[in-house]
Symmetry: C2
Subunit: 290 residues, 2 copies
């Protein structure tokens, strides 16, 4: 069993980006600049945003963190988005989700200029991915594709099963796995809460991508011998034996599933760091999108 080490791969990618950024600077080109809007004080959101800012520093991007109170009105948040759309120094930006309940997330996503949409959440970005046109790929699915590519996983003609049809992972992941591309050309089955006989379907998978958001949902009897398993879930569960008081679990029962796999992502250190690497790749790409 080979571990798909997202932490190391992400670090390699960031080293490569850092070299490109250094070259850009040497050539007198603009330094890529990523901004992030965070609303309120959600602990997990803050952790994610801080990791993104830290990654910007590592690769040599400029970064701007826009911190807004959770009492901000939708109109004021939309005005902030518009300000970033119009700020020529900022190449790409993200609005960290989730947003407070009084704000319509769709409205905010739609307000981000597609040319700066480095999260790949805008309908135009999603449509461009579907149609194979240049544009920003959703960060998590694109990170998974990159990880599979760097481990030379053969995908063409394989059966890929995706668990979960979310807009930010399951749905775009399915598209990326069926499209005609180096990583792609799979026969893809997308499963979800209405799927019957799920275990029977997941056992067909040469490549199983798990993104339903339930801790340790996938057990060994659901996985084919020799499968490649990608675990997108990440959950904090209390654990008094840990200094932090918690441990992180994925959507897959790692201990029992991993011995059956040819390759598997760990949690943490699998898909999570690749999402950030993707965001950095998208931001580098953004300097050519304006």
């Amino acid at each position: 069993m080979i571990l798909l080490d997202g932490k190391k791969t992400s670090s390699d990618i960031k080293d490569e980006i850092a070299i490109k950024v250094a070259e850009l600077k040497q050539q007198g080109e603009k330094t890529p600049h990523l901004a992030a809007i965070i609303v309120g004080n959600d602990g997990a959101s803050r952790t994610y945003v801080n990791a993104k800012v830290k990654s910007c520093e590592k690769v040599g991007f400029n970064s701007t963190l826009v911190e807004l109170p959770d009492t901000i009105s939708e109109a004021d948040l939309l005005a902030k988005v518009e300000e970033l759309n119009n700020n020529d120094d900022i190449d790409g930006f993200i609005v960290q989700l989730p947003l407070p309940k009084h704000i319509d997330e769709h409205k905010v996503t739609l307000a981000v200029s597609p040319a700066k949409d480095v999260d790949g959440f805008h309908p135009e970005s999603v449509g461009r991915m579907m149609l194979g046109l240049p544009g920003f790929l959703a960060a998590t699915p694109a990170g998974i594709v990159e990880l599979l590519d760097r481990y030379d996983i053969e995908t063409s003609g394989k059966e890929c099963v995706v668990i979960g049809r979310s807009h930010i992972v399951g749905s775009p992941m399915s598209v990326l796995m069926w499209r005609n591309s180096k990583i792609g050309n799979c026969t893809v089955t997308i499963t979800h809460s209405r799927t019957k006989n799920l275990a029977e379907i997941t056992k067909r998978a040469d490549i199983l991508i798990v993104a339903l958001g339930k801790p340790e949902f996938v057990s060994a009897d659901m996985v084919k011998e020799g499968a490649v398993v990608v675990d997108v879930g990440i959950h904090r569960v209390e654990d008094a034996s840990k200094k932090s008081g918690f441990r992180l679990l994925g959507d897959v029962k790692f201990d029992e599933v991993s011995p059956k796999c040819s390759h598997i992502t760990p949690v943490p250190g699998g898909v999570g760091p690749m999402t950030i690497a993707s965001l950095m790749m998208n931001t580098l790409q953004a300097i050519d999108m304006k």
Copy 2:
């Protein structure tokens, strides 16, 4: 075996739209107006466009046919598109594909305003469909959904297999069949030229949607007893016994497959007329999109 009669269903839908249009007119509202651009003299394209214009007349829409020579430059065609984008009287328009080889179809598709994109081909329309946001659905897949709905086909939890991953049928069809909707909630498998053991996969299908574009490709041994089969293909083959000199075939061997089916679309008279009904529904919807 029940025939999914697209011709009759399309005619019913057009009757319903005609009533709504008459009401709109009575209330002094604007008459919906569909325009179609056709470039050159391709026989099949002209047949399709004429059928669309005729349908407009039937439902009481205004229609405008813009006929351009196949020598037109890309710039002049784009200027025409921009003119229709800016013409307030026109609610929606289509550019009949294919276009002559010297014109970039993607560029033309991208030039159509998403607010008038009644074919549902623009990336923003495609992305909105993916994300479940209001927007125009691609006409052929939406027509198939409408047909399944009007025949009360139960889809939730069923296995749906789609043959073909094209941008205008297979890919959007897959999304519509997995999304959480009355017609939807299927476990969807998308197959294509790289798929191995295709017959084994298609035999899993409770609902089989065939859109690969090869005459009589699907044989009885590829279909499960009791399946619902939707045949998107349409091919002219020479037939000296016919007055016209040709007959129309689908992607499915109708004679041998139909006895195994619970429901099947005929060719012609199945999916084709539903595509036009969809276009009429999209145009009616377009008057609220401006």
